[in-house]
Amino acid sequence: MKRTLLKVILIPYIFVLMNWAPVAGLYYFARGRSLGIWGPVAVRHT
């Protein structure tokens, strides 16, 4: 019961967080291009 409630509580947060990711992605993309970081650092987590 507590686990289900926790899942429900987290849904709006996950939705907002996942929708923030494209905004952050655009920032990283724009910054990355100008700084030329499309090298190994940019793919560190692949």
């Binding site: 899942k7 967080l17 990711a21």
Partner: protein, 343 residues
């Protein structure tokens, strides 16, 4: 004007998450293109790019040896991208058992590591996998069977995310991933998926062209090039890889951020994808990939425009939106508490 903005934003959000799946369901019903799958034993080169994967390397190679596929037809290639944690030592001892190791002493990124791996591949089919996820025994066999259909150039398998109890995850991230797989299955039935799963996908070797250094989403660029070249990139959920679901929303956010940065890179490097007469899956790509990029801005427009519309239905909409964001703040607080207690 404000009303137009409100409804345009609302329509866009509803289309991306509800309208597009419904469109796919209808489209699939009318114009389904089944794949003529036939079990066969084509030669396969399995390329795994690794950087610092000492903890996963041995288990991954053992996993490759355990696959249900003739050993003389399966050629495992590990492409090392300047590891510093001893991954090279862990991998090199398997060379006597037929594993080819490509070693790059200077760090050049995953895309370049894949290029080096494919350069030594001899198989008719090149399969890609990540070090972290485990392949199901039948994974190669299931993927290869799809290449009996001449129209198929790339096949993506399915990544199954498991929770701590080793069951398919059903929490927020797990649910999202299941929704994503349903979309991919429908897109595949119509023509092609706009992207494969990095943990498990395969292509015809002759269709591979080297990736630009620094490519973030090899698993999207490779199949999309194949689709632009006139072949299909399909999704086969019976070829599975298993991975652990991320422990917290924040960790998933980091992965998502990288993926979406990669999407911007994709459109900048391959603008032809956004030209309807060049891209046979233009509608799918725009609805699936571009849609996800613009939804956040639509959410902002929806909220801000609603602040200027306070009558009747709009008042209800504003209350719902404010409640949603308050719940998101509560969720953030709960998530942070969990992180602290986990630490």
């Amino acid at each position: 004007m404000v009303e137009i903005l409100f409804w345009a934003a609302f329509t866009c959000i509803v289309y991306v998450y509800v309208g597009y799946p419904l469109l796919l369901m209808l489209w699939r019903k009318l114009l389904r293109r089944p794949v003529r799958k036939q079990y066969q034993e084509l030669s396969v080169s399995l390329v795994i790019a690794m950087h610092n994967e000492r903890k996963n390397a041995q288990a991954k190679i053992q996993n490759c040896f355990d696959l249900d596929y003739p050993t003389d037809k399966l050629h495992v290639i590990v492409s090392l991208d300047a590891p510093t944690d001893g991954t090279d030592a862990a991998v090199l001892k398997y060379t006597e058992q037929g594993v080819d190791v490509v070693y790059c002493p200077v760090r050049r990124g995953k895309a370049e590591a894949l290029n080096c791996g494919v350069a030594v591949a001899r198989g008719e089919i090149v399969m890609f996998a990540d070090a972290e996820q485990r392949l199901e025994r039948s994974a190669v066999r299931e993927l290869v069977a799809n290449f009996a259909d001449e129209s198929v150039g790339a096949v993506s398998g399915a990544l199954v995310l498991l929770d701590a109890q080793a069951k398919e995850a059903t929490d927020g991230v797990g649910l999202y991933w299941r929704y994503e797989k349903k979309l991919r299955a429908m897109e595949s039935d119509i023509h092609s998926v706009p992207g494969a799963t990095g943990a498990i996908y395969a292509i015809r070797r002759e269709l591979f062209t080297p990736l630009p250094t620094g490519t973030i989403l090899d698993d999207v660029v490779v199949p999309m090039r194949i689709v632009l070249g006139g072949k299909r990139a399909i999704f086969d959920p019976s070829a599975r890889a298993y991975g652990a679901v991320t422990q917290s929303p924040d960790m998933e956010y980091e992965k998502k951020k990288r993926t979406l940065t990669g999407n911007y890179q994709l459109f900048a490097e391959m603008p032809e994808l956004l030209v309807p007469w060049h891209n046979p899956i233009f509608v799918q790509l725009v609805s699936h990939k571009v849609g996800r990029l613009i939804v956040p801005y639509c959410l902002a427009v929806l909220f801000i425009s609603n602040l200027f519309l306070l009558d009747g239905l709009y008042r209800v909409a504003l209350v719902l939106q404010v409640t949603w964001y308050i719940m998101a703040c509560v969720g953030w607080f709960v998530s942070q508490r969990r992180e602290v207690s986990r630490a």
